[in-house]
């Protein structure tokens, strides 16, 4: 338990707040996805700073690398989905998705 750990956690909470706010308020699909990216930055910061504070930096590092691999896979799939949505609706507004039927 070190004071520095709390500082890292505080900044990670800030990143989480930014990401959550984007997810709650924005309408552009790409912007929403940037919000998810910001949240994932907060998660990797928490993982690594906890390992740093508890003297388990190697384990934390391997977990962060796993997390980054998963994140890239998620990004590739989601951006492909966004392009498909754009081709179907010709818009990036998330509200148009609510009007889709069938």
């Amino acid at each position: 338990m070190s004071e520095t750990w709390f500082v890292y956690l505080g900044f990670a909470a800030g990143l989480l707040a930014v990401g959550l706010y984007t997810l709650l308020t924005m309408r552009n699909v790409i912007k929403l996805f940037i919000g998810i990216e910001v949240v994932s930055k907060a998660v990797s910061l928490v993982l690594l700073s906890t390992g740093f504070a508890r003297d388990h930096i190697l384990l934390a590092q391997s977990l962060v690398i796993s997390f980054i691999v998963v994140e890239v896979s998620l990004v590739a799939t989601a951006l492909a989905l966004i392009i498909n949505i754009y081709q179907k609706t010709n818009s990036l507004d998330v509200r148009t998705l609510a009007k889709l039927k069938g």
């Binding site: 709390f6 900044f11 707040a17 706010y21 790409i30 190697l58 977990l63 962060v64 998620l74 990004v75």
Partner: protein, 160 residues
């Protein structure tokens, strides 16, 4: 420590810029800069492999993917965001931080420290020997991503 706090502030500031910027290209670049600063911070914390991954993959590859998507989805009329978004943001941000600090102040000291000696060995030993099962999961995730992208972009048959 001062340098680390400066880097952390930079990460948060560029993330805010990425979220609030009107132009999507500027958003993507701000996100890349935030990742770059986070990578430097990882390096200073003694995690060079995570730093390399963060800088090359998150700041490099993901930004390229974002740029590609933005270029492929160029619309004439931009999506209009609500005007209240920028006004409410500081209030939400400060309220979230205050609530978080108040809750975590009581919660964090109650978390028990896991027993275990300090780590020995190298990063390679930890990754390949202790976390071997994670690597199988990673392979599965990468394959799932590849198949998902292939399925989303497959060509239609002529008779459809």
């Amino acid at each position: 420590m001062t340098g680390n706090i400066a880097l952390l502030s930079g990460v948060v500031l560029f993330s805010i810029l990425a979220v609030l910027a009107k132009d999507l290209i500027k958003s993507a670049i701000s996100l890349a800069v935030a990742s770059l600063l986070l990578g430097i911070l990882f390096f200073l914390m003694g995690a060079p492999y995570a730093a390399v991954f963060e800088i090359s993959v998150v700041a490099g590859l993901i930004t390229v993917l974002f740029m590609l998507t933005i270029a492929l989805t160029k619309t004439d009329g931009e999506v209009r965001e609500s005007k209240a978004v920028k006004i409410v943001f500081p209030l939400f941000f400060i309220a979230f931080i205050v609530i978080d600090v108040l809750v975590m102040k009581n919660l964090l000291p109650k978390i028990q420290v896991l027993a275990g000696a300090a780590e020995t060995g190298t990063f390679g030993e930890v990754l390949w020997k202790q976390r071997t099962f994670d690597l199988v999961g990673q392979l599965a995730v990468i394959l799932a991503g590849v198949f998902a992208v292939l399925a989303l972009f497959r060509k239609r048959n002529k008779d459809e």
